[in-house]
Subunit: 150 residues, 2 copies
Amino acid sequence: MLRTEMTKKVKITPSVAEQALIRLMRVGDRLWRESDERFGQWGLTDNHYNVLRILNGAAEPIRQVEIGRKMLSSRANVTKLVDLLEDRKFVRRLACGDRRVNLVELTDEGAKFIEDTLPAIIGSANETMKPLTRDEQKTLFTLLGKLLEG
Amino acid sequence: MLRTEMTKKVKITPSVAEQALIRLMRVGDRLWRESDERFGQWGLTDNHYNVLRILNGAAEPIRQVEIGRKMLSSRANVTKLVDLLEDRKFVRRLACGDRRVNLVELTDEGAKFIEDTLPAIIGSANETMKPLTRDEQKTLFTLLGKLLEG
DNA sequence: TGAAAATTGTCAACAGAGAAACAATCTACC
DNA sequence: GGTAGATTGTTTCTCTGTTGACAATTTTCA
């Protein structure tokens, strides 16, 4: 019986690195789920909202492919995201010199939507991070930065 | 023109909390993508591998619903995950006293697969976390723990 | 005991996202 | 100028995963 156990199961002694990694993925996963849930109340995905925020942050109308780059999403998906946002009148496609390109910009309605909802979004971010002191938040930010670069 | 800018765009001054949160989600997202990529080489999802690891870590055969709980996946999805793993002969369903229940356990083949692949998986975890010192990894682990509890 | 409620696994329907194929257009280079 | 190759957006296909409905069971408790 003991022998069976020994031949059957790989011994696991998770390194610090692996423990941290797993926890990192778990926290990330939870945050994405919560984020999805939050935006679901408006019939949107976090990705839709992401598009709106990118447009809100952009000084000028930007190309779909550029949106895709900023949010690590495929061109195909951006097409669909913008389709929905256009149906909702949050966003508008503009022609430009290059006829392959769609420029996208926020409509006034889209801008108003962001204006109305962003505070709550940011508030809930603060809420999520509340278990950490400001210094700890900074530390976390720094450590994650090293991971992103490395 | 200036007025248009002002009425149209919400001013954004991301708090430390929000910056950390965003970075956390970004890192998490990247890790999940890498993880997917890694397991794709065996025709599996990270979720499939997760099932295998859970079974590997379990002392006895466990129920599907329990697997679902441990990995935050729906019952329906566990059914399909186990279906595939069963086709691959990595896993076996057993009847038990409660006739609603399927117990699931690793086959020898599944155990061997874990044994053969786990070191590489763990190795790549160490690689991912390399930009951080051991102490930093511990700090990260602790901070994330607070977030999970909070 | 026996009926209502809960649990478990499965199936069908659906939504989100990536990959590949495609058409339209632009760029580079001869 | 003109052709080969790159870029952009869209469409189609496919893959995961969730939800909700369902059937089979088990549990609860009146």
